[in-house]
């Protein structure tokens, strides 16, 4: 968040009751340029390129647009594909092709093709989180796989990762706020060297460190009066995270057990075939059974693949999502904690000022320094007034920041929940379909065996009579 370092011209705001309308209006007017004051009420961006011409001007309709985003015309289409190995003298890594097709006017061209590696995605996520601490950003696939380094180059792993990266960028593209982020645009459009140089820009190390220190201080301090709804969110996330973790494990375990079942089944068919070699009358049914079992094995392989490719990754993604949610809630808490700490600081300064009027401590000070006590008092008062003025300005800013953070979080939370429900629903419906398909195919295989055996019986009867 750059707003810390820029001076604010916004007056101390007595009116805390920002309507959601105003704030969402601000959100929609976000310019991609981070240097601009983000939460200034006064900023009315008239740069038409910021938003599409079809967007109506009134705040109410803007909110409507945000809420009914499902009906928005999707105007950015991204595909992530064609993973390739790159070998340099220092390292080996995989890049993915990212193709963007868009009708948005702020993009110079309507089609872009670039190559990105995992680190680039990671960078993008970091920038987005910086810019929008309380928006819920889709998680990235995990950085490392525990099993071993060579896993990185395994085809299945790369394919799973590619799918997750594809989903990641598309989710951002679908997000009404995130999709307009400047870094996102750079990510989609810049050539490798351009991206590298862009990465080097941005807040210096020191200011980022300052940011981190403040965040740590705030989190240590803790939040005093967290609004009920965010506590409820926290509780929800705790339970959700737990349950998702369990579901992820269960889904993976099922795949593992099914694979082992398949291995066992694969041994059955050959035994029946072997048996048929010793028999005369039973040759045909034994061979038929062996055939059925082999076919069932093929169907089982399809089923296992279906589960691994569709259901398991979605559940895993939501395990990571739960961590994202926790981080978002933490950041919100930190913003509130920071605000509260400034409010407390102001209160203590006020108290100090009050004390100044009534105590003679300054006498001690002044006597020590050989100054006039009245003068010393006055100087101190002035200093306090100055500090208090600064604090009030900061408080005003932080208050705005907090209000904004809270409302963006609330809206995005609903959005996230809707997406989550849709994803979970589709993952489990897929699982049910995969399993139904599996059983239906096996059923057909065994029924065909029965019919073949019945005809055998009929033939025998005929030859008897």
């Amino acid at each position: 968040m750059e707003s810390e370092s820029t001076s604010s011209s916004a007056p101390v705001n007595g009116n805390l009751a920002q309507t959601v309308d105003d704030l969402s209006k601000h959100m929609l007017e976000l310019d991609e340029d981070d240097d601009l004051e983000v939460f200034s009420k006064d900023a009315m961006l008239t740069d038409a390129s910021t938003f599409s011409a079809s967007m109506p001007a009134s705040p109410a309709s803007m909110i409507n647009q945000y809420k009914h985003e499902d009906q928005d015309i999707k105007d950015v289409f991204i595909t992530v594909d064609c993973p390739e190995n790159h070998v340099t003298s220092i390292e080996t890594f995989v890049t993915y092709r990212v193709i963007t097709k868009t009708t948005r006017s702020e993009f110079d061209s309507s089609e872009y093709e670039v190559r990105r590696r995992y680190q680039d995605f990671l960078w993008l996520k970091g920038k987005l989180e910086e810019a929008h601490p309380t928006l819920i950003i889709n998680p990235l696939p995990e950085k490392f796989v525990m099993k071993g380094m060579m896993e990185r180059f395994n085809d299945d792993f790369i394919e799973t990762r590619r799918k997750a990266l594809h989903k990641f960028v598309n989710r951002i593209a679908d997000h009404p706020i995130l999709s307009f982020n400047e870094d996102f645009k750079v990510f989609l459009t810049a050539q490798a060297w351009e991206l590298a140089s862009h990465k080097k820009q941005g807040p210096g190390l020191l200011s980022r460190m300052g940011e981190t220190v403040r965040a740590v201080a705030a989190s240590v301090r803790g939040v005093q009066n967290r609004p009920e709804e965010f506590t409820a969110m926290n509780d929800y996330v705790e339970t959700f995270s737990q349950k998702m973790g369990m579901l992820d494990k269960i889904a993976q375990r099922i795949v593992k057990e099914q694979k082992e079942y398949l291995e066992g089944m694969k041994e059955c068919g050959p035994v029946y075939t072997l048996w048929s070699g010793s028999e005369d009358q039973l040759v045909e049914p034994l061979k038929a059974i062996a055939g059925c079992i082999d076919n069932c094995c093929k169907v089982t392989e399809e089923q296992v693949a279906g589960l691994s490719e569709n259901q398991v990754p979605i559940l895993h993604e939501y395990v990571l999502c739960a961590e994202t949610l926790k981080a978002v809630l933490r950041r919100r808490d930190n913003i509130q904690a920071e605000y509260e700490s400034k409010v407390d600081a102001l209160a203590s300064k006020k108290a100090e000022k009050e004390n100044l009027k009534h105590t003679d401590l300054s006498f001690v000070f002044g006597g020590f320094l050989g100054k006039n006590t009245e003068e010393a008092k006055h100087q101190k008062q002035q200093r306090l007034d100055c500090e208090m003025k600064e604090l009030k300005e900061e408080i005003g800013r932080l208050e705005d920041k907090l209000e904004c953070a809270n409302s963006t979080l609330k809206v995005d939370w609903e959005r996230w929940k809707r997406n989550m429900q849709a994803d979970v629903r589709s993952a489990f419906v897929d699982m049910a379909d995969t399993n139904m398909n599996y059983y239906e195919k096996c059923l057909a295989i065994w029924e065909s065996f029965l019919t073949s055996q019945k005809t055998e019986v009929h033939v025998e009867k005929d030859t008897d009579s």
Partner: protein, 442 residues
Amino acid sequence: MRGSEILERMADSRSEDVAVIGNTDLSAADPHNNTMTEEGVPLLKTMEISVSEAEKRTGKNAVSMQEVYTVYLIETRPVNTISEGLSAAPDSLWRRYSEFELLRNYLLVTFPYIVVPPLPEKRAEFVWHKLSADNMDPDFVERRRIGLENFLLRVASHSVLSKDKIFYLFLTQDDGWKDVVYDTGFQAKADSRLKALNATFRVKHPDKRYTELKHYSDELHSVISQLLRVRAKVADRLYGVYKVHGNYGRVFSEWSAIEREMGDGLQSAGHHMDAYAASVDDILEEEEHYADQLKEYLYYSEALRAVCRKHELIQYELEMAAQDLVSKKQQREELATGTVRTFSLKGMTSKLFGQETPEQREAKLKILEQQIVEGEELVKTSNAECDEYVRNAWVDIDRFKEQKNQDLKEALISYAVMQISMCKKGIQVWNNAKECFSKMSH
């Protein structure tokens, strides 16, 4: 003819006349008494037999130690009383597994040319993790009960075995049956026969059919063992897959508590997942039945092999007798003509230490002649025995083959039927679950 007369008497008489039983002893030594040529109705046609219950008993065993064992209730009822509408209460008695074993051993010795139906396994083999290998486990006991009933039904429907008096008494005589069996003296024969079977011997002119049959029985045994092993592994895996889905049920239920819109869908889907997980128990119980059918033929293959080996033994004895006869004839010739054709120690010693006196030679010749006459007789009877055995055995082997083909084909079909039922259940459950999932959100 003599043998069949005895058997007629056996079938008609219902008395526990020991004399009658004593006659069955002859059937062991004399293969003439087979009933294959006889018109006879297997016992099962006239009598309803079942093993209906199992119970635990405690008692003192042979070394006066307390033991727990299971007894099985055998119920019998003459068929005509049923068809006449008279619902007579069945006769019943309790027997334990060891008594069944005794019966079977008796049948094995008494009818060596018959492929005797096997008993259910003594100890649980080819288990997968769910079944305990414990003989006291109720599932094991139940499956054993079914197996014992199957054994009795098979024996009772066999045209030869069902007519045996000892078998009949097994079904009907409560007290003292064991003594009756031991009195037949079959155990003495059992020992010598079984010992001979285990010994290694080579037959010079093996009957090709029996050699092939022996190979077949070995192959059948091997392949069914493999199948049972693989099948146990697969059953274990299948159990795992289904049961893990039960976890879905639990987690869905817990998760539904925090979800507003999805809660109901999750909860009801969870119930279907629980049902899915539970359904595997029935599935595997049915599959166990299929495994039992295979096991029966695993043990049948052993019985088949025993018949082949007995034939080899008889053949071997015949060959030995024939060989002995030839060598004795040769000796006679040598003694008579004074020429030594083959090397013999006697020949050498006589050469070294001088010839025998004519009187000694005469005595020897006389003994030899006697031995040759006996030898010829032995060869004749052995030959007859062998032929008889081959004939009888081959009839039963043909019967067995028919039975095996039919039974195994039915087993394979029932396996397919089981798979179909499993698939249908699966489709239903996942269809229901899908409906619940579809209701989540929107």
